[in-house]
């Protein structure tokens, strides 16, 4: 009896360890101490988040209720942020969560609720638009598969990053250095653009122009 209980406990511990190994492979900065090779993201995690992202993207298009669409879009963006993290772009992943899933989607939900939009009522379909739109989208997808099939460089696996032993990728520092050395002028132009957008929004939102 005692022996059986110990065996089941050992089995349970092994199972937990196996699951933990699968889940943490690639996402954390786990290093193989012998070979010092950094792992790329686990394909299982990539497929999981990619499938979630596409499924919720489809749900954005298919939902009749704008609030449901917006919430699906939030989940889609969060999965996209996970894909960025899998590509070692931690800063972009954080920006994605903060700006898109945070600020932009709050703005969307705010406007949807301000206008008090309910579920769209069913109208008769414009058959030409429906068929034409689906045909163009499907043609685009077919073209994409055809082009990617003839792109031999894309079949190579992602190269390893070369990092000093014991250090993780400090991508925020590198993005900042690139932004403020090579792209200073575009950065300032972006600042002006945001100012113009802010003023424009205020002007558009006024009830009557004076």
């Amino acid at each position: 009896m005692e022996k059986l209980a110990t065996q089941s406990r050992i089995r349970r511990i092994r199972r937990i360890r196996r699951i933990r190994r699968i889940l943490t492979r690639g996402f954390c900065q786990i290093r193989n101490p012998q070979s010092a090779i950094r792992n790329f993201v686990n394909p299982l995690l990539f497929w999981f988040f990619a499938a979630m992202m596409l499924a919720f993207g489809v749900s954005v298009v298919l939902n009749r209720n704008p609030v449901a669409s917006a919430l699906s879009l939030v989940v889609s963006f969060l999965c996209l942020a996970a894909l960025y993290v899998g590509l070692d772009a931690y800063f972009i992943g954080a920006i994605q969560v903060i700006v898109y899933a945070g600020a932009v989607m709050v703005l969307f939900l705010f406007i949807i609720m301000l206008l008090d939009l309910g579920a769209e009522q069913r109208r008769k379909f414009n058959k030409v638009a429906l068929v034409g739109g689906s045909a163009v989208a499907l043609g685009f997808a077919a073209q994409l598969v055809g082009v990617l099939g003839k792109f031999p460089m894309g079949n190579k696996p992602f190269p390893e990053l070369k990092l000093p032993p014991g250090e993780s990728l400090n991508d925020l520092q590198h993005v900042g250095e690139t932004l403020f050395s090579a792209h200073t002028l575009p950065f300032q132009v972006i600042g002006v653009l945001i100012l113009v957008a802010t003023i424009g929004v205020i002007v558009i939102s006024k009830r009557e122009l004076k």
Partner: protein, 107 residues
Amino acid sequence: MTLTLNHYLLVSGLLFTIGFAGVMLRRNIITIFMCLELMLNAANLSLVAFSRFNVGPDGLPNFNAQVLVFFIITVAAAEVAVGLAIIVALYRARQTTHVEDINSLKF
């Protein structure tokens, strides 16, 4: 199975196709706008994948692409603010967000 660049490009292209289909098929301006955001994000995903794929001689990803993604996200945020303001002004004038009801410029 190892992940290759084509996997990321395929997922990004499919996301773009979904957004594109939404823009073509939906009739609610706000949903169309959300599908536009989806297309912008598909472009961002392929840029980040190229950045990670293009490891330079120093063994680091190409950060120019990530800076470009940063700019795209900033411009998209500004665009959303202006676009939603236009939608609110339109709703105030016409009491609708359905594109087929807004056809004064239609030939």
